[in-house]
């Protein structure tokens, strides 16, 4: 192969991914990793678009988007960040919607604490209770709601260990460093070793709903792949996938409308 040939070959290689369809760049909150991977597989089956995803905490994505990060769609773990972006005109007006309502679960990887239930919390026999940082993580805020609903904040506060996000909180419990802790149901549902004994789904009335909003970012307003992806997320097929990972949908739960 001569040098010019090689050059054309390499150029073709670089351009090839753009030849079919467009690319949508999606920023996704860490609690939604598992369903997102499933959704991407289905999305790729249906059309020629390319999708690239970044997983992380919503607060970091907010800071990045505000400073020009090249994302077209943002699936946040809460409503607040999307609303703030809307106030700052960084999302396309009217595209904000609740794509999932999170479910909080109490989980233990330690057989001595199984079957897991609320009595474990009220008995206060554990050494460490893991939760996501309530100040920055919606699932941590929900965990704090539960602790407050059970009047356990003063009794248990010294035993809290806080993950910076729900994925790290999972790790604290998974490694056994915390005997018990609050995670997203979607995280423990995928693990085969988890049984009904190791996971307890927290009753909804103990915490404020974890409404997770998504929106089309200004940068993606003319991106057909982004528009198609958002339409896809709202399709019946995908809402069923999302529910199969332990989330709820706004229409299937008695809530006041999450966005007016």
């Amino acid at each position: 192969m001569t040098l010019p040939h090689l050059f054309i070959f390499l150029l073709g290689y670089l351009v090839l991914p753009l030849a079919h369809g467009q690319t949508v760049k999606v920023a996704v909150a860490s609690n939604f990793i598992a369903p997102m991977k499933h959704i991407i597989r289905e999305f790729k089956k249906e059309n020629g678009h390319h999708i690239s995803t970044a997983y992380g905490s919503s607060g970091k994505f907010y800071a990045q988007i505000k400073n020009g990060a090249p994302f077209d769609v943002f699936l946040s773990a809460d409503q607040h960040k999307i609303q703030t972006l809307e106030n700052e005109h960084l999302i396309v007006t009217g595209t904000r919607f609740t794509y999932a309502i999170g479910t909080l679960a109490l989980w233990s990887n330690n057989t001595q604490f199984q079957p897991v239930n609320l009595a474990i919390l009220t008995n206060n026999k554990f050494d460490k209770l893991a939760l996501a940082n309530p100040k920055i993580a919606p699932y941590g805020q929900a965990a704090l709601d539960v602790i407050n609903s059970l009047n356990l904040s003063t009794a248990s506060a010294k035993k809290w260990v806080q993950g910076e996000n729900i994925a790290q909180t999972y790790q604290f419990i998974s490694s056994g460093n915390a005997e018990v802790g609050f995670v997203a149901l979607s995280q423990v549902m995928q693990q085969r070793q988890n049984t009904p004994h190791s996971v307890f789904i927290i009753p909804k009335q103990l915490y404020r709903p974890i409404l997770q909003d998504a929106a089309l970012l200004s940068r993606g307003q003319n991106n057909q792949a982004a528009l198609d992806f958002l339409a896809f997320i709202r399709s019946d097929k995908v809402t069923a996938i999302i529910e199969s990972y332990g989330y709820h949908q706004p229409q299937n739960i008695s809530l006041s409308e999450s966005h007016q």
């Binding site: 905490s57 607060g59 970091k60 907010y62 800071a63 960040k81 703030t84 050494d127 460490k128 893991a130 940082n133 100040k135 920055i136 809290w160 260990v161 806080q162 993950g163 910076e164 790290q168 790790q171 604290f172 490694s175 056994g176 460093n177």
Partner: protein, 233 residues
């Protein structure tokens, strides 16, 4: 400046952690550096590589393994439990151990370089004057290599202050125990409290600059000292 009580707690904790770690590192780093500077053993390369590993390992790797090793099912965790100390993650002393490991090369290498720069001659002369090895270390090595020790202390301290990835993995964000400045800044950013993040970040920028400035000033001293030694020798 509008620093909150939590911010001051984080600053106090960070200084306490860095001082503790620096003291421990000077105590255990000096014999290691001494041995590495003097030895002709075939183990030298092996030990040097081991000491330098935290320089290139991502903090996430160190943090992840420490979390598992110090956890209830890990080797270190089972040892500390059998000693009645409980488990180390989410404690101040857990962070101390992690930081000692993480900052070790930053303390060992400057001391090792300073000792190597002295050369054999001054020590041989001291030995002919019947100075014991102990004497030789405290009256010859320590005064000549002093800038190297100071550089090591500043680097070890500053590097511990700048630690983030490991603390995130094994800290658990506990006030006055594991919530250090870098984690507090991260929390402020995540919570969109950018003004507070700015205050603390600015303090870190100034601190880093003056830490490094002091090191480069010390290094110039070391160089001029070595030159004058060579002239005398």
């Amino acid at each position: 400046m509008n620093l909150s009580n939590d911010d001051f707690d984080a600053i106090g904790l960070t200084l306490r952690l860095a001082s503790t770690v620096t003291l421990i590192l000077l105590i255990i780093g000096t014999p290691i550096a001494w041995w590495l500077a003097r030895t002709h053993s075939s183990w030298k390369g092996f030990i040097s590589a081991l000491v330098a590993m935290p320089l290139i390992l991502p903090p996430t790797v160190i943090g992840f393994y420490l979390l598992i090793a110090m956890g209830p099912n890990g080797y270190i965790g089972q040892l500390t439990q059998s000693l009645g100390l409980g488990i180390l993650p989410f404690t101040f002393w857990g962070l101390v151990i992690a930081s000692v490991f993480y900052s070790l090369p930053f303390v060992v290498q400057p001391i090792q370089n300073a000792i190597e720069a002295i050369g054999k001659r001054p020590l041989e002369v001291a030995a002919t004057l019947r100075a014991s090895p102990f004497d030789r270390f405290f009256s010859v090595v320590l005064p000549i290599a002093k800038p190297g020790f100071m550089t090591a202390a500043v680097l070890g301290f500053a590097h511990t202050v700048g630690e983030f990835g490991i603390v995130l993995m094994i800290g658990g964000n506990i006030p006055n125990e594991t919530r250090v400045i870098s984690v507090q800044i991260y929390d402020h950013v995540e919570a969109l409290e950018y003004a507070q993040a700015h205050y603390l970040s600015a303090i870190m920028v100034l601190f880093s600059f003056f830490a490094l400035l002091s090191i480069y000033t010390l290094q110039r001293k070391q160089v001029s000292m070595n030159i004058s030694n060579e002239r005398q020798g």
